[in-house]
Symmetry: C2
């Protein structure tokens, strides 16, 4: 997998239930807009606000809706190992390109050994030869990071299975350290701000929330690899970063599509305030 | 509900599946040892390492095993609202004394409004008149606290439903602030170190991990309310606090019962190291 991947937003209906129809249409549109792949059920997709069954139904809807499994890296990492195993098994059996796996995120300051066992048992218990694991490093949200030492251990124990990482640390130096330490490891950076810098050092691409609203331009920047295209996408990113990101992305899609239902987020998130909406309008 | 409640440890078998039989026996023993109530599925019980189905089966086992529902306040707060609702509904319908509800803990720095909606929707969607909610404040683990302002809003909106709190902040001043702000609200402190101090100011008791290994003495301290009894239980608490608490409690029970299976914890937790075991032995 390579290029620009969208961690897809999850649309809800008026009862705050996931809307499978709009989810499938939206995913198809993102692929049409140039995304090389899709990552349903990431932080941007409010995955941890969904039950396991809701994620399963949404994944089924995508596959039945003709979204190719080989374009999908669904998020499957949960606080509870049996949930991670159940979702990973389903994704691997469906032929998904991989799964994006958070470390268990309830207990803080877990030991390296504890995290190693979490990933190792997730892989062992999933028990699917075609499983491809992308580690999900987003310490500012999960509060549980994935160290270089842990990656080294996992790559040694599960070569060909542990395939890559989404580095959402938002620290370019961390992304560079990953690229230097693990040649061949598929490193996706979590913001398009570092797209060019990451690609120049051998990165695989980016998995970025803003691809939900700016996929054509980010895809073009990926293809052309020029400073000019990078600057263009930076402007959009910076505008959205001034606001609560997920709510702002949903607001933008609600406006663009004329479908106000897109504003809905599940608690603890809240939709944009009137002031925040005005800020977005001025952009 | 009043007195000493144990946030019950969850025993696993050699495959790391919850062991329902040992769970029921252990809960009965804790009640025999003087616990006034039990809180299955708290942080100590590794609840967020269990799937929703596993919690359901364990609760069923307790009820079928003759543990009275009115002695139970199961933890039902999950990252995903539908999971919280499903577990809360089950507990309320079974006649449990209440449910202990964590705020959704994946997204950090949620707004007060977002947290308010989380609890309000959990109560509304559970839709059971007999539901009694105990808020679970454990910011050092969940990283998402429950402010006094939020409690005030919830008490106003859901009088008679929002019943109490487990304050695991481990800050006596915070517990005192709760007691002063909300007379009649059932405040349980999260460590027996503050049992006497909390009771003196009108607190309901404690919900403390160490009750898993020291219930008779803590219950006696609750009944006698003397400085001497308080000092006795402090010594035990302090000894366990030097070690990773959950693993140390399981180690102690493994030794006492002669059943080595009690050592098992789910990742990301790990059992005590040989050095840590030696430290526990010297106590």
């Amino acid at each position: 997998m390579q290029g620009v991947l969208a961690p897809v937003l999850t649309p809800f209906d008026s009862q705050l239930n996931p809307d499978e129809g709009r989810f499938v249409s939206f995913c198809r549109k993102l692929l049409d807009d140039g995304c090389n792949g899709l990552v349903p059920f990431g932080t941007t997709g409010e995955a941890n606000s969904l039950s396991v069954e809701e994620r399963e139904r949404l994944l089924d809807a995508l596959l039945e809706g003709g979204v190719p499994a080989e374009k999908l890296i669904p998020g499957t990492g949960c606080a509870a190992l049996p949930d991670t195993v159940r979702l990973s098994k389903k994704a691997a059996r469906a032929g998904c390109a991989g799964v994006l796996v958070l470390p268990p995120f309830y207990y803080k300051n877990p030991s390296e050994e504890g995290l190693y066992r979490s990933f190792a048992q997730a892989i062992d218990k999933t028990g699917e030869g075609r499983l491809r694991v992308y580690l999900y490093h987003i310490p500012q949200v999960s509060q549980v990071g994935i160290s270089l030492r842990l990656i080294e251990r996992l790559l040694k124990a599960y070569p060909g299975v542990v395939t890559g990482i989404k580095d959402s640390s938002l620290e370019l130096e961390h992304t560079r350290a990953l690229l230097r330490a693990f040649p061949g490891f598929e490193v996706f950076v979590g913001t398009e701000k570092f797209l060019l810098a990451t690609l120049r050092e051998g990165g695989a691409g980016c998995i970025t929330a803003t691809a939900n609203v700016n996929a054509p331009a980010i895809s073009r920047a990926f293809r052309e690899r020029s400073e000019e295209r990078q600057r263009e996408i930076d402007v959009v990113r910076e505008a959205f970063e001034k606001l609560p990101l997920i709510a702002a992305l949903k607001e933008a899609i609600a406006r663009r599509s004329g479908d106000a239902r897109w504003r809905a987020v599940r608690p603890p998130l809240v939709e944009l305030s009137p002031d925040e909406r005005a800020t977005l309008k001025e952009m």
